[in-house]
Structure formats: C-alpha cells, structure tokens
C-alpha cells in the first residue's frame, strides 16, 4: 500500500513507496513481454479519464496502453476537444466528469498545480502526467526502474542530470526521487539553466559537464525545450552542443558500465549526438518500455486497494 492517495509529485513518496512501485512494475514487465495475452483483469470495471490539456504523444500513448493492459475502461479528453476551450472552468469540467462516477484522472497540464487542483474537485484518484515546469512523477519512476534494472540498485549511484534544469519538470521529479533512494545527484547546466537554489534537494551543482562526466554511472540528458524558451537563454544551438551536448568524444570518456538516459523527444545534434543516442550505452528505448510497466504499477497500486474511492 502506498503512503499517498494521489500521485502528484515525487517529493511526497517514501523510499518504500518507490520500491513498491518498482517491484510491482517488474511483474507487469513480464506481462508486457510475454508472447501470449498481454493483458490482465486487474482493473476490470474501473474507469480512467485521460485529461490531456497539453499536447503529448509518448506519455499519453504509454498511459493508454497501460490502462488497456490492466483491462480498465478509458475516456480520452484533450485540450482542443474539451469544454475548457469553450470557456468552462477546470473545476466545472472536473465536477461534470466526476458526476459520471469515474475512478481515476490522469492529468497533463500546461500549468503547474493543475493536478492538485483536480484533486480538490473529485473523489477519484489523480495521477499527474506532467504539469508545467513543476513535476512529472511517472517519468521519474520509469527512469528509476530503467536505472535499477541495469545496476540492480539505486543507492550510491552517481547520476548527472544535464541540461535545461530550470524549465524541467522531469528534473523536478527525478532529482528528489533519486535522492530519496540514496543516489548521488549532480546537476549540470549553464548558469541560465541552473535551478535557482544552491542547496536544492542536496544535489551537487556544476556548470561544466567535462569536469564530472568520467565519474558518473548515469548521464541523464534533458531535452532543450525550445518551445518553453522565450528570448535567448543560450547563445546558439551549436554553442550549447559544444559545451553541454553528449558527443561521441564525451561518451568515450564515461565509465565502462555507465549508461545514458533521455526522456525524449530528442533534439539530435543539440543535447545529444545522433550516434550517441543509438550507442550501446543508451537506455532510451528501455525507458519507453519501462514506462508502460511502471504506469501499470502506479495505477494498480493506487486503484486496486482500499485507497480507492469505493471503499472509503
């Protein structure tokens, strides 16, 4: 049983919560990898609403697949087709859907705090599928799963998170979760992209990728979010690639066992060179595979128990 009712951020999760999610995800990974029927009746009869108020391809398809493989019934609502664009307030939209007796909302939103707001207007369970620059907890769980599958553990690992930290909800969820599990986190970014607080979750901070790359077990490259940057925070694409891009030359300096992760979608040639994205160290496609299994585990653990609205 998880200690939280909703999955809004990773800072509320205990080490035991995270371990439960990762262990349960292993069982679901077996189901996803089998040749027979890739589906279990675990959430049969439960209704899940995917409320995606911001465009998303991989997170949305990962959730939809996870829901189908759990035998849940689903309802997809997007920004352009929902009443939110007709001027209805979010609270009204949520209360309207809630009146139809749904069990879970999966919420992706442009603004930080939206999933929390949803919890205030429904008795259903809420999972945050990414809110603005705040949190993306299900991404962090699939990242932890991928890293743990490679090394067998998380404690003591040295992880560099590289890139646009200030705009990154991925970093906002991943760094605290890694710290909870006992990993050593180093934040690498140009000064304009660093997190504001020098003591943020006890992570090391540096502006120089070349100073730390040889020491890392995991190098996690963040996407430079061109759509979130108004005004030039960095001088140019080439300049960013030269200082912070993961090139073949930098890849060659990594420890023999070290791996490379990226949440996607990639800007090949900017934060990561094309050959590096496809090299033997890259776990980028494993991350995508892990996404379905870990999301199944989260929905199963949140909806399957006494924690659900029916038995409260």
């Amino acid at each position: 049983m998880l200690s939280v009712r909703h999955l809004i951020d990773t800072t509320s999760l205990t080490a035991d919560d995270i371990t439960q999610i990762l262990d349960t995800a292993r069982s679901f990974a077996e189901i996803n990898g089998r040749k027979g029927i890739k589906k279990v009746p675990a959430l049969r009869g439960r209704t899940i609403v995917n409320l995606f108020l911001e465009p998303s391809t991989r997170t949305r398809s990962s959730f939809e697949l996870a829901e189908k493989r759990l035998s849940a019934d689903t309802l997809n609502m997007g920004g352009s087709t929902s009443s939110v664009v007709k001027g209805e307030s979010l609270a009204d939209t949520i209360q309207t859907i809630d009146a139809m007796n749904v069990d879970m909302f999966v919420v992706r939103a442009r603004f930080a705090g939206t999933p929390q707001k949803v919890t205030e207007n429904t008795d259903a369970i809420v999972i945050n599928a990414g809110d603005g620059k705040h949190q993306h907890p299900t991404q962090a769980m699939l990242d932890l799963y991928t890293i743990r599958e490679h090394f067998g553990h998380l404690d003591g690992l040295k992880v560099a998170i590289v890139g646009d930290l200030a705009h990154s909800r991925v970093c906002g969820s991943l760094a605290p979760a890694l710290k909870t599990m006992g990993a050593d986190v180093t934040l690498v970014a140009p000064p304009t992209f660093q997190v504001g607080d020098a003591s943020w979750y006890g992570c090391n901070q540096t502006n120089h990728l070349d100073d730390v790359i040889e020491d890392m077990d995991v190098v996690y490259m963040l996407r430079v979010q061109l759509e979130r940057m108004e005004g030039a925070a960095i001088p140019s694409r080439r300049e960013y690639n030269r200082l912070y891009g993961l090139s073949l030359e930098r890849e060659a300096r990594m420890k023999p066992e070290a791996i490379i992760c990226h949440p996607g979608p990639m800007n090949r040639g900017m934060e990561i060179d094309a050959e590096v994205a496809d090299c033997a160290r890259s776990r980028i496609l494993d991350q995508v595979t892990a996404g379905v299994a870990t999301r199944m585990a989260e929905m199963y653990l949140l909806l399957g128990g006494e924690n659900n609205g029916i038995h409260n």
Partner: protein, 188 residues
C-alpha cells in the same frame, strides 16, 4: 489484529515426503510417464512443492519435467479488498501450449486461487490439459473445482486455519492446524 493459537500437527516431514512420493507416482501413472508434462507452482508455496514433485518424478521416470511459477495477483477477484505490492513474477520457462500442466499449490480451500490461476494460465497459451495437485484439501469450496492429486484431506472448520510449512520458506516441513480468533470477522 488476528490472534492465532496452534492446535495440532497434522503431517510431519516424513508424512509429507511420503505424500509427495505418492503424488509423483500418481502423476506418472495418470499421464503415462513424464513426457509432455510441466509443473506450475502457484506463488508462493506452490513453487517449492512443484520443485520437490519434479525431483520425485525424475527419480521415477528418469526425466525431470520443467517447473515454472505463476503469480496470480493481477487475476484475483478480491482486488479492492486488500492489495499488496507484488514481489514475485510469473516465470514459466516452457510453453504451456500443448503441455499437460500440473498446477501445484499448498492448500485447496475456497477454490478462488485456483480459479485465478486457471485464468492466468489460459492467458499464456492453450494447455493440452490442466491438473491440480495440492498438499492439503481442507474443503469449503465456493466454486466447482476439485483436485486431481491430494496429499491429505483435512476436514476443517472455517474458524480454523490450515498451514503448510516448507523447508525453503519456513525452515521445516510440516502441516499444522490453528484456531483463528479473529477480531475482524467476515474475511474467510
């Protein structure tokens, strides 16, 4: 919380060993050998029992049937009542299709676990047949399910608990019966 009081030991290690040897013989007799059979232990105590049976069958027939484990957590019909993190995975290293599958569990009681196991098994393929072997049948079935191979029939009351202890899990082989004085009530 529940309070348990031990009442009696129904089988000791020798009795369990003899029962397993007999079941192994019955399996070989019924299937005319060990060809084409596969043992599937239901998590968690069915798995060590399946391994013991496989070793016994190897003694008798000279071929050791393959052994797999089946986790039925995601197929249970009481989800929503209680849930635990899943620490075991299904791992069946042979194709269940066209195999005579021997499902192995420690105690047969309401039959709901076996019902879940059958669903889980069918999702993996189409077995030629499914047979059920249990160490103890304690009665009180709630579904039309019966065992093909039984170590011992133990008439029991619903206020009792029958437990199979196994060396791999509990440090010793025995079957014991316990009185349950439950303050929760209702949960069978």
């Amino acid at each position: 919380m529940e309070q348990f009081a031990p009442k009696a030991t129904i089988m000791d290690a020798d009795a369990m060993r003899r029962a397993m040897t007999r079941i192994a013989h019955e399996i070989c007799e019924h299937n005319e050998g060990a060809e084409g059979i596969g043992l599937v232990g239901i998590v968690s105590r069915g798995m060590p029992l399946a391994r013991i049976l496989a070793a016994e069958i190897a003694e008798i027939e000279g071929t050791r049937p393959p052994v797999g484990q089946l986790d039925i957590s995601f197929y249970r019909d009481d989800i929503g009542r209680h849930i635990a993190p899943v620490r075991h995975s299904t791992n069946i290293p042979f194709s269940v299709s066209n195999t005579d599958v021997i499902l192995v569990d420690d105690v047969l009681y309401t039959g709901r676990t076996v019902r879940s196991a059958l669903d889980a098994l069918m999702d993996l393929g189409r077995p030629r047949s499914v047979q059920l072997a249990v160490m103890v049948d304690r009665g009180h079935r709630e579904l039309p399910i019966r065992a093909d191979y039984v170590g011992k029939n133990v008439p029991s009351s619903r206020t009792e608990d029958v437990r199979v202890h196994l060396k791999d899990v509990d440090g010793e082989n025995s079957v014991t019966i316990w009185d349950i004085r439950s303050t929760k009530g209702g949960e069978a």
